[in-house]
Symmetry: C2
């Protein structure tokens, strides 16, 4: 299974892609950080991040995308911006017709290190070890995106719009079949989206204008 992880941020947005085989062994496919110019207006910065996400999806064709859930903290401006990056990123994943999973920071830390309160350095070290890399990917946002992808591949839950029962079933069976966890309606919609993007056909929503 090929999984893309996104660590949302406007200044640095971590984008990682891994392959995970049925024995849960993970290998690195891509890792990078999308950046946006601080001198640009926020909406142009969001577009730059969205373009980078589109490019990684197009090039590496993940089967599922996982993103870290943002929580309201004391710094309201930073949360606002990260929520907006999350929204722009989610729309990219939707346009590609892919399933999207959301994981909390503590789920991610716990999945890679066994400790939901692990520090950044510990997460980076574990990501490198899991992927068999000589050194940890830098900056931290890049390593975090890989940690999110590993978390999703190993947990197999957290898909948006997935029926709770099927998540549990997948989780218990331990098989990596997240791709098929969408409901039939979700799947039909996703396939129509993907087909439209490929052919450039105009869909009814666009005609309505």
């Amino acid at each position: 299974m090929r999984v893309m992880g996104i660590d949302p941020g406007l200044t640095r947005c971590g984008l990682g892609v891994i392959d995970v085989d049925p024995s849960r062994r993970a290998t690195l496919v891509h890792v990078g950080v999308a950046r946006s110019d601080k001198d640009l207006a926020t909406h142009f910065r969001l577009t730059a991040i969205a373009d980078a996400i589109d490019a990684v999806i197009e090039r590496h064709r993940p089967e599922v995308v996982a993103i870290e859930r943002v929580f309201a903290q004391d710094n309201l401006q930073s949360v606002t911006t990260t929520m907006q990056v999350m929204g722009a990123a989610m729309a990219c994943v939707g346009r590609a017709g892919l399933p999207l999973a959301v994981h909390t920071p503590s789920e991610v830390k716990s999945a890679v290190s066994g400790n939901g309160n692990a520090g950044k350095a510990q997460v980076q070290t574990m990501v490198a070890r899991i992927l068999g890399l000589a050194e940890a990917p830098r900056p931290a946002d890049a390593a975090d995106s890989l940690a999110i992808a590993i978390c999703h591949a190993w947990r197999g839950t957290g898909l948006l719009g997935a029926p709770a029962d099927s998540s549990i079933a997948v989780s218990l069976s331990g098989r990596l079949t997240a791709r098929t966890e969408m409901t039939p309606a979700q799947r039909a919609w996703a396939q129509a989206q993907a087909a439209q993007r490929r052919t450039g056909a105009v869909d009814p929503a666009r005609r309505r204008g």
Copy 2:
């Protein structure tokens, strides 16, 4: 000047377009509400809203887009969702290479009714009166998107990334020249974006993948 207003929402997203002449008279070009199916996963719903925004921009070619600023309130889930819609919408405006302005709800209410605490019905009534419509556009989200557009056309401030000085100059002169308020760097970036979308050329950010 042609202004598009967006009232961000996942279930109903108001989209309105008006023309405003130099004497500040406003006329209706388009009004509608983009809806998304509640049974779909959130990211697919965001894509549906983004597609509708793209379609209105493509069809009506606004010179500037204005959106209502969302504030953190007691309902955190609702704010999170609206922030995400805002992010997806902002990325659409950025992709079209257009300037984006943000106005607070009280600025919008004050601009159309003279009362920053006006109720929904009062805003709807004033929007209809300003645009010379026989009755108020419904639902409220549709009327709100027009109120946001009117607010921007009349105030001429609030552009993201605009130097504060130029906003003040425009505001004092009273002329509706918001389109030119971007900094030279913003304008160059916006023009490159728009040109790329037209020609389908690959930009360096995409090549980096």
